[in-house]
Symmetry: C2
Subunit: 399 residues, 2 copies
């Protein structure tokens, strides 16, 4: 996609019609080439991407249903796609399977059945002679042991070897949806800035962010919403939530890290605000990260740079200015149906950037037990450099 095509997209009329059949066809081509006879995908990102089965809001502690470790999609390399669904909560998956001719069956596993026998019964329906099986990377070992029992001679590989390369390059529909996710995120941030006043806690603000998204009808946060108030002499607290009960006071820097999942695609966004008048050093590091981000975005030219090199572009600027130790994480990560996905903008990843890859670009500086400063946007790689999919201004917001 060229930049001008993207600009002509209307935010109001989003053509959310992912071509799942084409994705399945391409995945099956790759499976056959790789000698894989069947792929097992859990209810998650890969299955949403390939077959359009949406993801339910995950439970916060382990939820267990009978036979759940074998539930998911069984996809034959030649043909056939069977969903195995837990009886408890089966209604959702049966509805998801409707009007999808590429799904043969949503089969419920009942408490009267033995999961291992159900698995044996399902895999019989695929041509597996001398071919391997691919399992979702995050499939549970509890399920994998059953596969090894039922198919002891089948080589096991990871489904990501097939699906991750496909997911890296976004098509026009994916970019359209991600742009809309970015616009909603911009709007929520604008609303939340008005909520900042002395005394509100990090948690209050994170809660308001989630609520603003919910009011706009999006699905769920793409990751746990992060809000941090920091200033010299106050320890940066790490807790089980990414926002604490610390109240906002004059002299606090306020950093945001949040995103949403809209029509199955993620946003991820960051900005910095300040309560009161920031000291000169704070303005300096804020300018520095904006410049580092700008240089990196400019360098996101298709075919011209690797993921690892892009990390260096931003990191070397921050190091040169003497703040390298404060930039403690990778420059960014691929983003799409999940908030973090390959490629990753860090030294081990030598992937060459290509048109229609989408990354977060998120340099930050954290001064030890003092201020924090960050900026983050989702950016698409084009032939002319990076094109941000969120557009909220980057000036330091003073409260």
């Amino acid at each position: 996609m060229r930049a001008k095509d993207l600009d002509s997209l209307s935010a109001e009329v989003i053509p959310v019609k992912m071509n799942f059949e084409d994705r399945l066809r391409r995945a099956r081509d790759d499976m056959r080439k790789s000698g894989i006879g069947m792929m097992f995908l859990t209810y998650g990102a890969n299955l949403w991407y390939l077959a359009g089965i949406r993801r339910q809001v995950p439970h916060t502690t382990d939820s267990n249903a009978y036979g759940d470790y074998l539930c998911g999609a069984y996809i034959g390399a030649d043909d056939g796609l069977i969903l195995l669904v837990p009886r408890m909560g089966s209604g959702f998956y049966q509805l998801e399977a409707e009007k999808k001719p590429w799904i043969d069956e949503a089969r419920i596993i009942n408490e009267s059945e033995t999961p291992r026998n159900v698995l044996a019964d399902i895999v019989k329906q695929f041509q597996l002679d001398r071919r391997g099986i691919a399992l979702d990377d995050r499939a549970w070992i509890q399920g994998a042991l059953e596969f090894e029992h039922v198919l002891p001679r089948s080589r096991i590989s990871l489904a990501s070897e097939i699906v991750a390369p496909m997911r890296m390059i976004k098509d026009v529909d994916e970019i359209a949806v991600m742009k809309k996710a970015g616009q909603i995120t911009d709007a929520v941030y604008g609303e939340v800035l008005g909520f900042l006043k002395e005394g509100v806690t990090e948690y209050d603000v994170s809660y308001e962010i989630d609520h603003q998204f919910a009011k706009r009808g999006v699905e769920y946060p793409s990751f746990a919403t992060g809000v941090r108030f920091t200033k010299p002499g106050e320890e940066q607290r790490t807790d089980i939530r990414r926002a604490t009960d610390r109240p906002l006071k004059r002299g606090h820097s306020v950093t945001f890290d949040f995103g949403t999942c809209y029509e199955g695609y993620c946003s991820d966004f960051g900005r910095t605000a300040f309560m009161g008048e920031p000291p000169p050093e704070f303005r300096k590091i804020h300018d520095l990260i904006i410049q580092a981000q700008g240089s990196a975005i400019k360098a996101m030219v298709s075919g011209k740079i690797t993921a690892a090199q892009l990390d260096r572009v931003a990191r070397s600027m921050i190091e040169k200015a003497g703040y390298g130790k404060g930039f403690t994480h990778r420059l960014g990560h691929g983003i799409g149906v999940t908030v973090h996905e390959p490629p990753f903008l860090y030294p081990p990843d030598e992937t060459k950037l290509a048109s229609n890859m989408t990354f977060t670009v998120e340099p930050s500086i954290r001064l030890p037990d003092s201020y924090s400063c960050r900026v983050e946007d989702v950016v698409m790689v084009t032939e002319k450099g990076g094109l941000p999919l969120s557009n909220f201004h980057k000036e330091l917001t003073l409260i």
Copy 2:
């Protein structure tokens, strides 16, 4: 624990001092007896239970950090407990490891290392000759393949074989915390009833429940909060959230299904309300589920009944009254550090109930595309029958 001991517990002074060292000692005894040399636990329920590493609020889509599929705790059968932590977000785990003499090290995995080599380096520190390894049931297959590569001759079993039997029987500290979780849940429900008025949506109400919990300082919901408005002629909608944008109107039954995680332990609670004057049949089915629950609770006598039999106690009453088809799920499930855990109150589970097991008891009746009706409490097994850990009244609330 006897019923009278529990009654003497003060809600205000909870002795939250889980004896992790004793739990580790007992797990290691079992590992050695079972010929297991090392156990790998992901950051999750089992690791919280055995070693006191708290669980962070989970991300909603896949979050990926370098080497994360091998991150977690490596626990030797003889001694040794090493945490492998992702560099990104390592601060949390380092703090969690502090002041826990039973943890030897929180070792960070860096982008400059190869995960497989890190694994090989860690497992060298344990005595594994001819002994197997136990992996967390939900460990990712991506990690399991690395274990099979590094330890090709080690038999793999599931960590739940060691930990699940321990988790089934709660000690005095666990019961105290779960009772407090029940009290907080009662209080939140009381508050939320006042929020019900014509026009609020299911989602608004679910959001208010989560907010009321958050204001009381609890950790996070124990599972996705469910609120349903139903009446004859309105389809029961299933969506990716467990609450939709349907507005509350006169004639709606209102069913609740929610819980919280307090000090690492879960509650799970259900009641039913009605807007307006319920028809006689609705009062009848409401009385029926209250009676079915009461009979089941009375039957929860240590050593006298199995999980499957307890399901029959409630189900046969509902079937006899002609509503068996409306009771679509198991009677309940074990609950503790996760919302669902063994034993399960359904036909395949022949576990004999024992003192200090804790279960949800949650009969329901759902009339097809019409009213729903449910009640749920967490109940502890004693020598004299079940003792509920939540105490909100069970009369039908009219709005």
